[in-house]
């Protein structure tokens, strides 16, 4: 047990923590943008999965990383358009629409994989291009910190930059202001001439890029191949992270880090000969527990605020 604690504070674990957090941070940021504009995007999981496959395929068929990125982003945009069109224009319920996208993605990825490689499980027969690892010049020389912070995948650094980018987008640009307005009160926004559907469409498309990058990280960074159903619920965990972070970019980032901690922990516990299946439950249980704790504290805060309001109202009456 003491060995476990020691391991958690080692630089190896901290490095892995950041590594497993990346595929949660990117889609969680996408979910934040959607939530803020008033769309609860349940197709995340499916879009991630499809982007993961197409990133690998694009790279293998096009012969360079560039084509991989292009194919991955393109397919996530296409699926985002599909989700947005059915949800916003044909008014399909978001839960059903998202579930449908996830079902399609589950079948489509295996179908395409078999069509191209002849296998149903993995894309290991394809030559895949991964995002490069980056050593940060000065930081890598710092003793412990360098081991933790430097040498990560390019997408990990992009994910962290994206936190700031989304803050900038939502709070400092006219587009972000309109998106938030549409999410906060669609009727008010539309009364001052903001096209609600168009705004939400834009939000779904922007988040589609982030979600796609998150998916591509799985097959082009975390592993260097696509495996069937490799997202394993990360899209939903990201959605939970966005909710727990109260749909703010920084909050979602921190929540994603919390969930990633348990993901990393489950990786170590497997090394300690605890049954793998048992340990694999950990990230999902942590997500349920996290959402529950968040909801409980929200209720108490709400009650306290209300009690204050009641007291003030009584005071003013006297």
């Amino acid at each position: 047990m003491s060995g476990l604690v020691g391991y958690i504070f080692s630089s190896d674990f901290l490095y892995m923590w950041i590594r497993v957090a990346t595929p949660l941070i990117l889609p969680a940021l996408g979910a934040v943008i959607c939530n803020r504009s008033g769309v609860v995007h349940l197709g995340l999981e499916g879009i991630m999965l499809t982007a993961a496959l197409f990133g690998v395929l694009g790279g293998a068929l096009g012969g360079s990383l560039f084509w991989g990125i292009a194919a991955g982003i393109l397919i996530s945009l296409l699926l985002s358009v599909l989700f947005a069109y059915f949800h916003l224009s044909l008014r399909a319920n978001n839960v059903l629409c998202g579930t449908a996208i996830n079902t399609i993605a589950g079948g489509f990825t295996v179908f395409v994989l078999e069509l191209i490689t002849g296998e149903k499980g993995t894309s290991s027969s394809l030559r895949s291009f991964s995002f490069p690892n980056v050593n940060i010049p000065l930081v890598e020389d710092i003793p412990v910190l360098g081991d933790v912070l430097s040498g990560h995948n390019l997408l990990t650094y992009i994910a962290i930059l994206m936190v700031f980018a989304v803050v900038f987008l939502l709070y400092k640009t006219p587009l972000g202001l309109r998106m938030r307005a549409v999410g906060e009160n669609p009727n008010a926004a539309s009364s001052v001439g903001v096209n609600v559907t168009k705004m939400r469409f834009t939000a779904v498309l922007i988040s589609g890029v982030l979600i796609g990058l998150g998916g591509m990280y799985l097959s082009m960074g975390y592993l260097n191949m696509f495996t069937r159903d490799m997202t394993a619920g990360r899209g939903f965990i990201a959605l939970a992270a966005a909710a727990m972070g109260q749909s703010t970019p920084v909050g979602a980032f921190l929540s994603a880090m919390v969930f990633a901690f348990f993901d990393g922990l489950s990786n170590i516990l497997q090394l300690l000969r605890i049954p793998a299946e048992f340990v694999q439950m950990l990230p999902y249980i942590a997500t349920i527990a996290g959402l529950t704790l968040y909801s409980i504290q929200r209720i108490y805060r709400f009650k306290r605020k209300n009690r204050l309001r009641v007291i003030e109202a009584e005071k003013s009456r006297q």
Partner: protein, 390 residues
């Protein structure tokens, strides 16, 4: 009058969707296959070429009836729990434990196993329901997370406690012979489970339409605020709906296990809960139509299996088709324009001919259709903690 128009439009919509699904099969097959004609033939005609294959359709439809019924009860209560997947799988686990370890006479053994499976399903389904009731935790995400927990837990229990050591792949010990469900049609594997499913669908209909709790459930699902105002006890109704649905899915898991298998052989959750959503939507959330819808989806699945075996198109085509069908059925705006036009026309006609003192029927396009309550969007209620998207 409006009823008839709604029926016409809904029927047209269903036929259109089925047509689109079939056309999609054609397109995918012709784009990807070397021998497209054979593939299409084996997909559409293959399932009817022998008694055994027709039996396969019924076998494929049986688990879907259970999960679809569970989905209907949850959705009709206005909840978005996706737990039927996990409840089905934990039902398999529960039934497996009784089937391996129990020592009972033939008739009682499968019954006990299935009841225990249902109990496990109800327990799992109660978790997101209670979390939502107590603290307003979104049942959607917790139920999906719980599905993963159930999947890993089940595989863990099988591989560490009931594993057949001599088998190279994951398989459980053989079940006791007394636990088998009897086959009811000679020459197929159609088992007693299908009768259980049909009976449950009928009971589900009676429950929703003829009982007090069923009425409360529908009211809660249709209009939560009204239900709360009328003192229905909406929170309790939501929980009981989910527990009941979990029990049904769990029973389905048990029946599927004992009817079709002699060992546990899954390596991941089989996905019947998700396909159950398509079946539930196709049945227009009416339990009586579930057998029909399940048979259709079962037919597609068997067709895809036969096509995968006899040609070069993989069976995953069927997932794509089911997803597209789900998208189309869920689209409320599809054909809505036409419905509106028909209703207005009928109202105008009535107003013209009818006596002056009878007011024309109001054009009300919101009746009928898939009017599932909306979650997340367009409900700006920042003050109440229990009503946000997540």
């Amino acid at each position: 009058m409006n009823r008839r128009i709604n029926l016409i439009v809904d029927l047209t919509k269903m036929l259109l969707i089925i047509l689109i699904a079939c056309v999609l099969v054609f397109i995918i097959v012709f784009l990807t296959s070397q021998e497209p004609a054979d593939a299409v033939y084996s997909f559409f005609v293959g399932p009817f070429t022998s008694l055994r294959r027709i039996g396969n359709i019924v076998e494929a439809a049986t688990p879907l009836m259970f999960t679809a019924l569970a989905v209907i009860i949850i959705f009709r209560a206005g909840q978005f729990s996706m737990i039927s997947e996990g409840a089905f799988f934990i039902g398999i686990l529960g039934a497996m434990i009784v089937a391996i370890t129990g020592r009972m006479p033939p008739g009682i053994h499968p019954l006990a196993a299935i009841v225990f499976g249902g109990f496990c399903g109800a327990f799992v389904a109660s978790v997101p329901a209670v979390l939502k009731m107590m603290w307003g935790v979104s049942e959607l995400v917790t139920s999906i997370m719980l599905n993963y927990v159930v999947q890993f837990f089940t595989i863990y229990v099988v591989s560490y406690h009931y594993r057949e050591i001599t088998s190279s792949s994951l398989a459980s010990l053989l079940f006791q012979e007394t636990s088998a469900m009897p086959v009811i049609v000679e020459g197929t594997r159609v088992h007693l489970g299908v009768i259980v499913a049909l009976v449950l669908c009928f009971l589900g209909f009676l429950f929703l339409q003829r009982t007090r709790l069923g009425f409360k459930l529908r009211v809660t699902g249709d209009n939560l605020h009204f239900a709360q105002y009328a003192g229905v006890g909406a929170a309790g109704v939501m929980v009981s709906a989910q527990v009941l649905a979990g029990a049904i899915a769990g029973i389905g898991g048990g029946a599927e296990l004992l009817g079709m298998y002699t060992r546990f052989k899954w390596t991941s959750s089989p996905g019947y809960g998700w396909i159950g959503i398509v079946v539930a939507l196709l049945a227009r959330r009416n339990p009586l139509l579930v057998p029909l819808a399940a048979a259709f989806i079962g037919y597609l699945n068997v067709g895809a299996d036969i096509m995968a075996r006899s040609s070069d198109v993989s069976r995953e085509v069927v997932l794509i088709i089911q997803g597209v069908m789900m998208l189309l059925i869920a689209s409320e705006a599809l054909l809505q324009h036409w419905r509106q036009k028909l209703i207005v026309k009928a109202a105008e006609k009535e107003a013209k001919e009818g006596n002056d003192d009878a007011p024309p029927e109001l054009p009300d396009a919101s009746i009928g259709g898939n009017d599932i309550p909306y979650t997340g969007v367009d409900t700006p209620t920042p003050n109440s903690p229990d009503q946000e998207g997540l």
